[in-house]
């Protein structure tokens, strides 16, 4: 896909997230919206080897969404890539749906892991990569973390392990959207640098404009950033809906009908499901 096509896809996925929040009547919208450019770059941009017809293909790259509350973007992308029918997205957050508001690998086997509790994804990925190395596999793993999630100590236990064992097939992306559940991320972290912390833990780290598709694609193509080190991208992200930017309220809020229409208009895209045949 060209950069323009990837950008268009990202807008569609964002529109889908908005629609799913409305249909499912559950928030955490910004937790999904922010990292869409990165996710589309990983899946549609070709970084992640994936096999929709055979989700457990041994040669696949592993993707772990560690911040499980931001799952609508992942559901939308997986559906768009053909892991399951796009119309299933309309069932998001229904009692009997395979798409609960925190991902469950038992209802959606295409997932590598369930998620919902923060601070686990990076550690699990280190185990997968250690195992893949024992098996002689060159498969890679990408983990999407929240910036707020990096408050968790287990993230740093995993970071230490990954560097100590030179897991250079590991890519962590921190969705640096600046907000967490009840406050601003930088303030809570004492205005310390995420990139600096990862570097101190032995990682190759880059802070980028994670809302710019070209930058994201170029950064991904430079992976691994340094030989023998795990790589981390601190992605400064945007929701790309003006009234949702940088506001803790939109961590929770379900858009009203008026807000939904306004958001889709700003995005200039329609959801990928619910289209008339």
């Amino acid at each position: 896909m060209t950069i323009e096509e990837l950008e268009k896809k990202a807008s569609e996925i964002r529109a889908t997230c908005v629609q799913m929040a409305c249909d499912g009547r559950v928030g955490h919208l910004c937790s999904s919206m922010a990292y869409v450019d990165v996710l589309v770059a990983l899946y549609h941009g070709g970084w992640l080897k994936h096999f929709p017809a055979e989700p457990k293909h041994p040669g696949r790259d592993r993707f772990i969404l560690s911040k499980g509350h931001g799952c609508t973007a992942l559901y939308a992308v997986l559906a768009d890539r053909g892991f399951f029918p796009v119309e299933t997205l309309a069932e998001y957050n229904r009692e009997t749906s395979c798409l609960p508001n925190h991902p469950c690998m038992h209802t959606l086997p295409a997932l590598e892991m369930s998620a919902g509790s923060l601070g686990h994804g990076l550690g699990v990925a280190t185990g997968m990569l250690y195992g893949l190395r024992l098996k002689g596999s060159a498969a890679r793993a990408a983990v999407l973390l929240g910036d707020g999630e990096c408050n968790e100590g287990s993230v740093w236990e995993a970071a230490m392990f990954a560097a100590a064992h030179k897991l250079e097939n590991l890519l962590a992306v921190v969705d640096y959207n600046g907000v967490q559940a009840v406050g601003k991320t930088d303030e809570i972290a004492g205005f310390t640098s995420l990139e600096g912390k990862f570097r101190a833990f032995g990682w190759a780290a880059r802070t980028i404009d994670g809302a710019d598709m070209r930058t994201v694609m170029e950064t991904l193509s430079a992976f691994p950033f340094e030989k023998g080190k795990p790589s981390v991208i601190i992605a400064r992200t945007k929701n790309k809906v003006s009234f949702m930017e940088n506001d803790v309220l939109w961590h929770y809020r379900v858009p009203s009908e008026e807000e939904r229409v306004k958001a889709l208009a700003e995005l200039g895209a329609a959801p990928i499901y619910g289209r008339k045949p």
């Binding site: 699990v124 280190t126 250690y130 893949l132 236990e157």
Partner: protein
């Protein structure tokens, strides 16, 4: 028991290339054989129990048979959420091994006490929970635990546990008849089997002959065995070094109540308390009445009662 574990572990790693051993920076000079023989499958994760558990889950996800090892309190209570979310929820076959379970590290203080390890692990759906009584039983159970499709926890001791003779072999999930007898049944888990055997020897001289069943598998509880025991014994005496809120005693009591069995129930074990300072394990056992002397007394009383 740690030595036996090391030997059994090495044998398991020789047999199965999927076995990977993770330690939370514990077991100085205990696992040297494994480390030498299979250096890539011995990993000192560091003093990072959360990471050890999550990493083990990742390995299991890739088809390996990880075994995570630490002191019982640091293996269970500390990374409880990681075990719950990353191993139990996905149903992954990770074996967690807690050394010095119960009050084996009594003198090290409350931080090292693990009277709650069996109860904590039993809380998790799909978790198998075992507590062998001696090195031989550990060696018998380890390969069986490594055959399970889901997660398991095994409490082991430290060093120098005496051998306990059993009438039957150790089969995971089944109560093990140690000594046949009548009227009174002594039920043990973990290292308490030895005290029970010593007590039974003394009692036999006085013509008191309770039966002894060892429940090395605390979960799933062998309820078929409980039904047989309840049908034959008027009193069941559970001996455990475990919190009264969970563990063998709690499981047996709940089963007896639900089954409506008329069997009397006696529990010998530590109370729901912290033990401050650094008491000797023997002191804890004596003070709270679950050692050999207490078992003898309880059996005598039940025998004539």
């Amino acid at each position: 028991m740690r030595r036996a574990f090391s030997t059994a572990l090495c044998a398991a790693a020789d047999r199965d290339p999927g076995v990977v051993f993770l330690t939370g920076d514990l077991g100085y000079q205990v696992f040297t054989d494994l480390e030498k023989k299979h250096p890539t499958r011995y990993v000192n994760v560091g003093i990072a129990e959360a990471q050890m558990v999550n990493m083990a889950a990742g390995l299991a996800k890739e088809g390996f048979r990880p075994i995570a090892y630490s002191i019982a309190s640091f293996m269970t209570a500390r990374p409880f959420e990681q075990i719950r979310v990353c191993a139990a929820y996905p149903g992954l076959p990770v074996l967690f091994v807690g050394a010095g379970g119960g009050y084996a590290y009594a003198s090290s203080g409350v931080t090292h006490h693990a009277g709650d390890d069996l109860a904590l692990m039993s809380l998790l759906p799909g978790m198998t929970v075992a507590a062998p009584c001696d090195p031989a039983e550990l060696i018998a159970l380890l390969p069986q635990l490594l055959e399970l499709p889901g997660p398991a926890y095994m409490r082991i001791g430290k060093f120098g546990e005496p051998a306990v003779a059993g009438a039957e072999p150790a089969v995971l999930g089944r109560a093990r008849l140690m000594t046949a007898g009548e009227k009174v049944a002594v039920l043990t888990c973990g290292e308490q089997a030895y005290a029970a055997q010593e007590a039974l020897k003394e009692l036999a001289a006085a013509g008191v002959r309770p039966q002894h069943y060892h429940f090395h598998t605390v979960k799933p509880l062998d309820t078929a065995a409980l039904a047989r025991i309840a049908a034959a014994a008027k009193t069941m005496i559970v001996v455990e070094e475990s919190s009264p809120n969970g563990g063998l005693g709690a499981g047996v009591a709940a089963w007896l109540a639900a089954a409506g069995a008329g069997t009397k129930y006696v529990r010998l074990g530590p109370p729901d308390e912290f033990f401050f300072g650094g008491p000797a394990r023997e002191t804890v056992t004596e003070r709270h009445g679950y050692g050999k002397k207490a078992i003898i007394e309880a059996c005598r009383k039940a025998w004539v009662g």
